[in-house]
């Protein structure tokens, strides 16, 4: 191995070793042989230990010699000093320390660098007092513990509640000395209290008044723990999940979808009402408008007719007979021009005259264009009325 060729490698390598490593990095694992940097134990340590022994041996009276009293005193002194120093300890800011002297409670210590008489005289138990502890009941996260979370409500339904209790130590020495297993006690009390509170309420109230359930549980827990002198303060009870049991969940969900159905039925009805009522208002407006139109039309037409009659009448007064005949003949001309006519002289006939039936058939609409082309004056008004 090229490594061993290096001049005087120290126990953890040498400067040359460094170069070597830099130049040929892949060789490092090879170099980790019996004297490599990865094996700090070995001959070198042994060597230093022997050195130490030799030095101490000289101090204690040389190799093979008896022990010197001064040496014993010095060793005892150092040992005592070390023992005395072992009483130094640090109380972290979130902690409080409880000191016992031969097991008997002596004092509490606040955070900082502290000293206690060393073991076995005094002992220290550090308790986290400001940091919050949390216990999950009914399963934490994904895991579910149904025997913890399923409970009976006041109306004999079953509800699945997962909750957490946040608590802290309020009195360090009580916490240490009063209860045998404070953490487990908190959990047991939490379960018992929650069940008692939920047992007093109907199911709907459990879902609807979570805050109240939480507050009552916290209060009941606090009361019980205080009664035991547990030195625990309940900070918060929080319901993480309050559900109907799995078996009835679908039915519960159906109730909420029924509420949605109800809302949508109402919405549908409103939609219908809006449409129909507004349409009816439109129709009403149409009826009224058309009636107003009719009134206006009637009045205007009547005024027109009257004016026309008045005009004709004025002229008629000047030559009544002529005008009367003329009007009659002109009208008959227009009427007869557009009619089928059969003229029968009944005076000389002795037997009933039989007419062929097709005479009574109406003339086709495509009758002589000349007949319909000139719009006769008198014709205007009745046409308009018929079209109304």
């Amino acid at each position: 191995m090229p490594w061993n060729d290096n001049a005087n490698p120290g126990p953890w390598g040498s400067p040359g070793d460094d170069n070597d490593r830099r130049d040929t990095p892949p060789k490092r694992p090879q170099g980790g042989g019996p004297r490599g940097p990865q094996r700090p134990g070995g001959p070198d340590l042994n060597q230093s230990f022997e050195q130490l022994q030799r030095r101490f041996g000289r101090f204690f009276g040389g190799p093979g010699g008896g022990l010197r009293p001064g040496a014993i005193a010095a060793v005892a002194g150092v040992a005592f000093g070390l023992w005395a120093l072992s009483g130094i300890y640090v109380v972290q800011p979130q902690e409080e320390a409880v000191v016992t002297t031969f097991g008997a409670y002596t004092r509490n210590e606040a955070p900082g660098l502290r000293y206690h008489l060393p073991f076995p005289i005094e002992r220290v138990v550090k308790v986290p007092v400001t940091s919050l502890q949390r216990v999950d009941i009914g399963g934490a996260g994904e895991s579910d513990v149904p025997q913890e979370s399923l409970m009976l409500t006041g109306d004999e339904n079953i509800v699945d509640i997962d909750f957490s209790v946040t608590w802290r130590v309020s009195d360090a020495d009580q916490f240490v000395f009063r209860l045998r297993d404070p953490e487990a006690s908190v959990k047991a009390v939490a379960e018992s209290a929650m069940r008692e509170v939920v047992g007093r309420m109907p199911l709907d109230a459990v879902f609807g008044q979570r805050g109240q359930v939480q507050a009552q549980t916290a209060e009941l827990m606090q009361r019980t723990l205080d009664q035991w002198g547990a030195g625990v303060r309940i900070v918060e009870v929080q319901i993480r999940n309050a559900n109907p049991p799995q078996q009835a969940l679908a039915a519960f969900r159906d109730v909420s979808s029924a509420e949605q159905d109800q809302a949508s039925a109402v919405n549908e009805a409103r939609t219908y009402a809006n449409r129909v009522v507004n349409e009816a208002r439109g129709d009403a407006a149409r009826i009224i408008q058309s009636a107003q139109g009719y009134r206006e039309q009637s009045v205007r037409e009547a005024l027109g007719d009257a004016a026309r009659f008045n005009s004709i009448y004025t002229e008629y007064r000047r030559a009544p007979g002529v005008t009367r005949d003329r009007l009659y003949i002109e009208t008959m001309q227009r009427v007869l021009a557009r009619s089928n006519k059969v003229i029968v002289d009944g005076d000389g006939a002795s037997a009933p005259i039989i007419l062929p039936p097709d005479i009574f058939r109406p003339r086709s609409q495509a009758a002589p264009p000349a007949a319909s082309a000139p719009e006769p004056e008198v014709d205007v008004r009745p046409r308009a009325r018929a079209a109304q």
Binding site: E156, G199, Q262, S298, L327, S339, F360
Partner: protein
């Protein structure tokens, strides 16, 4: 010789240590102890309500020390199926908090904690049976849980005192009081049907509201249209009235001519449409000249 004197010191020191360790004993704040001389308890150290934790002394070799917990101890009872006074089955799971208050009695009666747990558990179970057995299911689940727990505690305390257990029963709490597995299924079914009924009711209410709203809308439609009809007909009537008045005024000047004039208009409107076949006699007024020549009958 220095070496043998040193050995002597060591031996003496060891002997002193042994003696010391036999004489002194530590009682932790969390513990209490009884000192037993030849199997007979003679005194108590640091029992609840007394001081005495810390370093204590006893007669070496003759006496020895038995320690007990001084704290509030939890004991979970087994799940018990109990029959309530209204013949319902409930699975009850309780726990007891107790403290060894009289270690002498405790030691004499129960000897150690394991035996104690066994006995106390049996006692609690029988108390629970008795107390809860005389209550209804509704009381246990809802109404009087706290009260029943108090009763059980008192009963357990009394009986443990009578049996000289030397313990103080601090609390008995019912942790769970549930229906047995088989009954749970019924509860689930009932909850399910209960909810189904509720869902059906909500849907029915929705349908009801829908119909009410639609009916109200229909009513409004009908009324709106009827009002419009009323107003419309009134308006038309006004129109007709005015028309009648206007025409009557005009025609009234010469009723006879008006009748003639209006008839002419009517003939033309009704007969002049080309769909009429007229059978005419040549001696009608129109054919006067056609029939009788240029003189027109005025011969």
């Amino acid at each position: 010789m220095i070496r043998s004197r040193f050995t002597l010191y060591v031996v003496l020191a060891v002997a002193a240590l042994v003696l010391l360790s036999q004489t002194l004993f530590v009682v932790d704040q969390r513990e209490q102890a009884i000192v037993v001389r030849f199997g007979e308890p003679v005194r108590v150290v640091n029992a609840p309500g007394t001081q005495g934790a810390g370093l204590n002394a006893k007669a070496p070799f003759l006496e020895n020390v038995i320690k007990f917990d001084r704290r509030n101890i939890a004991l979970e009872s087994q799940q018990e199926e109990i029959l309530t006074s209204d013949r319902q089955r409930l699975v009850v799971d309780a726990f007891v908090r107790y403290r060894i208050s009289d270690p002498l009695s405790f030691y004499r009666t129960l000897r150690d904690e394991r035996t104690a747990e066994d006995r106390i558990e049996r006692l609690v179970n029988s108390s629970l049976r008795q107390v809860l057995g005389s209550a209804t299911q509704q009381d246990i689940i809802a109404g009087r849980r706290g009260q029943l727990m108090q009763l059980t505690r008192r009963d357990v305390a009394q009986r443990s005192q009578a049996s000289r257990f030397g313990i103080e029963v601090i609390d008995v709490r019912i942790r769970r009081a549930d229906f047995p597995q088989a009954n749970e299924e019924y509860v689930y079914r009932r909850m399910q049907t209960d909810r189904q009924q509720e869902a059906a009711r909500i849907r029915a209410v929705g349908e009801q509201q829908k119909r009410e709203l639609m009916a109200a809308a229909d009513r409004e439609v009908t009324i709106t249209l009827a009002q419009a009809q009323e107003l419309g007909e009134t308006t038309r009537g006004e129109g007709d009235a005015q028309r009648t008045r206007i025409l009557a005024q005009a025609f009234g000047k010469d009723p006879s001519f008006a009748a003639f004039y209006r008839s002419m208009q009517a003939y033309e409107a009704s007969l002049g449409q080309g769909d009429t076949t007229m059978v005419l006699s040549p001696d009608s007024a129109f054919f006067r000249y056609f029939e009788q020549g240029p003189s027109g009958g005025r011969r």
